[in-house]
């Protein structure tokens, strides 16, 4: 669908001007509208909001906040400001626009909306119904609004939304680059996200569930009132009534949950502001509540380390009691081992004494060729001397040899095992005690350091203390809200489980009833349809968000600086968009530079168009703004490469310059130049013209 015609009369700087847009082709879909500052770019953009959506569109116009646009008076006053200063009082202000389907839009018709606002002879907005009139033509046929019993303006707006797109979506497709910040802020509200749901079809699903539910009430009544109903029917109605009550409870719990979530967000945002103020005031990282929590935590670590040390000592009580004796026992065992070894050697020698003597003095003497002839008494003395000499080999005992056995029951291999075990006990006790003591020392040091920081935080100036107290209070409130949220979530889980059980029971009764007749069979099917649509709503919501995040990320990364590559955009519920960078750190998008925010807005629009496959024209006022030389061609390329029916770029001479135009020449379908010729003539639209090079 493309904007084929826009006629502005008595509209800001336009006295009477018409833009006739050519039908775009697949290759050429970009329209450049050049205008110097104050010549009519923003007036063009605003005319789309107000021309399409009237009073509802005002909330998206620069300078008009939502709360200011609720009253008819502020709407009239706004239109008074948008009216051309030199307008003839007898002439209305008119916005007349037509959107035309392209060959890619099937089964769709031209939609023309003509909105007129009337003024009195003082050029002040007329009061009441005389102020505004709107005509909606679909396929050239004027839609009647007078005989429906509804407010004709409201009905016309509904028809515009049905025939084109919901008003919520408008800021995502028609926006001022300078207002990208506002678009991002609005993302924090459910507005744009709801718009995505509308376009993705989830709103229709919700509406269908509601309609089927109403149909069921009527169908049940038609099938027979309570008087005629069988016992089973009465049972069914009782269950349905119970389910209605349960649904009310669920709705109330969900509303409470939402309210609390908003409250929490507000407190969180207040807390962040206070924390920033606290840092600015010199509180640094001295977040008192956090520090106190850290001290408490560290104190617990000290207590745990003390307990661990005590447990180590008591579990090693026996070991410890012998540890002092271990060296003495080890020494004694070693001495007794030496004694045992000495005694063994000595015994071995003495056991062989007779063999040694027999070798030294063979018997009988006649067989001894060396000493056989000595006198027998001399021979006896020599024998005694050799025997004594042999005994003296192992006398005295070696040094460190025990004199006797105190631990004589532990000998040989057993003694060696006892020595090894004693060594292990000695080493193990030391290591465990050493580790526990080390942990205790570290924990005590940490407590001391944190206490010192806490003391420092208590000595900050009065103003800082006040901020800190407020922060503490907010933290407490947030904890309380989180507790309540948790409690509601539990309640919701339980209610939903009860609802599920009840639905199964109702389904069973309906299956029984369905056997009774065609009406009951229809009711049974419609009940199932109703439940299926409710399930579908629940399941489509996260899918819609995920898809939107995926596609926004892809477009944003394509346009933005390379430092965002590998990142991911998150659209948290009730929060402003965030980007998670490749290294896992997260940053709020509203903290980024103006042009990065603008890139996000463009990426968001492209993503919305992509996932919903709605072929809505994209109209951007000053898309490049103060972008640097790398961003400029990338952004323009993203806009021109994307498969949109029509992209209208409103720009001034220093923005989309001739160099940049050359880069996208192949995609440009048409150009306009808007020139302001003074207050009498106003802005004049010159087709097929652009700024002089």
């Amino acid at each position: 669908m493309y904007l084929s015609r826009l006629h502005l009369q008595n509209w800001r700087s336009y006295a009477d001007a018409v833009f006739e847009f050519k039908e775009p082709t697949q290759r050429k879909s970009v329209v450049l509208v050049g205008a110097m500052n104050g010549h009519g770019k923003t007036s063009f953009l605003v005319s789309l909001y107000l021309g399409l959506f009237g009073k509802f569109g005002l909330r998206y116009c620069e300078g008009f906040r939502r709360e200011e646009t609720n009253s008819g008076e502020s709407y009239r006053s706004a239109l008074g400001k948008y009216r051309r200063n030199h307008a003839d009082p007898s002439e209305p202000t008119i916005i007349d626009l037509t959107l035309t389907p392209t060959h890619l839009d099937t089964n769709e018709d031209d939609v023309r909306i003509v909105r007129r606002w009337f003024f009195n002879n003082k050029n002040e907005p007329k009061q009441g119904e005389a102020f505004e009139q709107v005509d909606v033509y679909v396929g050239g046929r004027l839609l009647r609004t007078a005989d429906s019993g509804k407010d004709p303006l409201a009905l016309a707006d509904e028809r515009v939304e049905r025939s084109l797109f919901p008003a919520h979506v408008a800021p995502a497709f028609f926006f001022d680059g300078e207002q990208a910040q506002e678009l991002i802020e609005k993302m924090g509200e459910p507005g744009i996200k709801k718009a995505a749901e509308v376009m993705f079809g989830t709103k229709v699903v919700a509406e269908a569930a509601q309609t089927i539910s109403e149909y069921l009430i009527r169908a049940r009544q038609a099938a027979g009132g309570k008087r005629k109903a069988s016992e089973r029917q009465l049972d069914l109605e009782a269950k349905i009534a119970e389910r209605d009550r349960l649904n009310e409870q669920i709705a109330k719990a969900q509303a409470d949950h939402l309210k609390l979530e908003h409250e929490k967000d507000e407190r969180e945002s207040e807390r962040n502001q206070l924390q920033e103020e606290f840092v600015r005031l010199g509180g640094g990282n001295l977040d008192a509540a956090k520090l106190q929590a850290d001290v408490d935590h560290a104190q617990k670590s000290v207590e745990a380390a003390e307990k661990s040390l005590t447990a180590t000592v008591s579990s090693l009580g026996l070991s410890l009691s012998v540890t002092g004796l271990v060296p003495k026992i080890l020494n004694r065992l070693k001495q007794e081992e030496t004694l045992e070894s000495w005694e063994g050697l000595k015994k071995g020698t003495l056991d062989n004494k007779e063999k040694v003597l027999a070798a030294a003095l063979p018997e009988p003497p006649e067989s001894d060729p060396l000493l056989g002839n000595i006198a027998p008494d001399i021979r006896k003395k020599v024998r005694e001397r050799i025997a004594t000499a042999l005994e003296r080999i192992y006398n005295p005992p070696p040094p460190n040899c025990a004199e006797s056995y105190l631990l004589g029951h532990v000998k040989g291999e057993r003694r060696a095992k006892v020595r090894v075990r004693l060594d292990e006990v000695q080493c193990g006790v030391s290591a465990k005690v050493r580790n526990s003591a080390k942990q205790l020392r570290s924990a005590r040091e940490a407590v001391e350091e944190l206490r010192a920081r806490l003391n420092r935080s208590e000595n900050v100036p009065e103003k800082t203390k006040e901020v800190r107290e407020k922060l503490d209070k907010l933290n407490t409130q947030n904890q309380e809200i989180s507790r309540k949220l948790g409690s509601i979530e539990n309640e919701l889980r339980k209610l939903k489980a009860d609802l599920h059980t009840l639905n199964v029971e109702i389904g069973n009764i309906q299956d029984d009833l369905a056997k009774l007749g065609p009406e009951q069979r229809r009711i049974a099917v419609a009940e199932r349809v109703n439940r299926a649509l409710e399930d579908l709503q629940e399941k489509l919501k996260p899918t819609t968000t995920n898809r939107l995040e995926d596609v926004v990320t892809r477009h944003f990364v394509a346009i933005a600086d390379k430092r965002f590559r590998g990142g991911r955009i998150h659209l948290p519920n009730g929060g402003t968009p965030e980007i998670e960078l490749a290294d896992g750190t997260r940053a709020l998008l509203e903290m980024f530079s103006g042009f990065e925010k603008r890139s996000f807005a463009i990426a968001f629009s492209l993503a919305l168009a992509e996932i919903t496959r709605r072929r809505i024209p994209l109209v951007i006022d000053t898309p490049l703004g103060n972008a640097d030389s790398a961003y400029r061609p990338r952004t323009l390329r993203s806009l021109t490469d994307f498969d949109l029916d029509q992209t209208i770029i409103l720009t001034h001479d220093k923005e989309v310059t001739h160099d940049l135009v050359d880069g996208i020449k192949g995609s440009i379908l048409q150009t306009f130049l808007v020139e302001y010729h003074g207050s009498e003539i106003g802005s004049v639209v010159v087709p097929d013209k652009y700024f002089e090079s």
Partner: protein, 65 residues
Amino acid sequence: MKVPPCFDDPETRKIIRQICDEHSLDVDLLKDMCEIVGKYSGSGRRFGLDEEIAGAVDRFLSRSN
């Protein structure tokens, strides 16, 4: 009135099919319901709505038989 885009999207189509299986319905019936509701949405008109819903259910019942 076009079918909501979630019925054309490959990912959400799977979810819809799964839900239809769970409730012993078919995707066409849900599509029909969304189309009917979309047709009457915003018009403030209810005349004929119940008949269209009943008609969609009857078509489903004859498909199922």
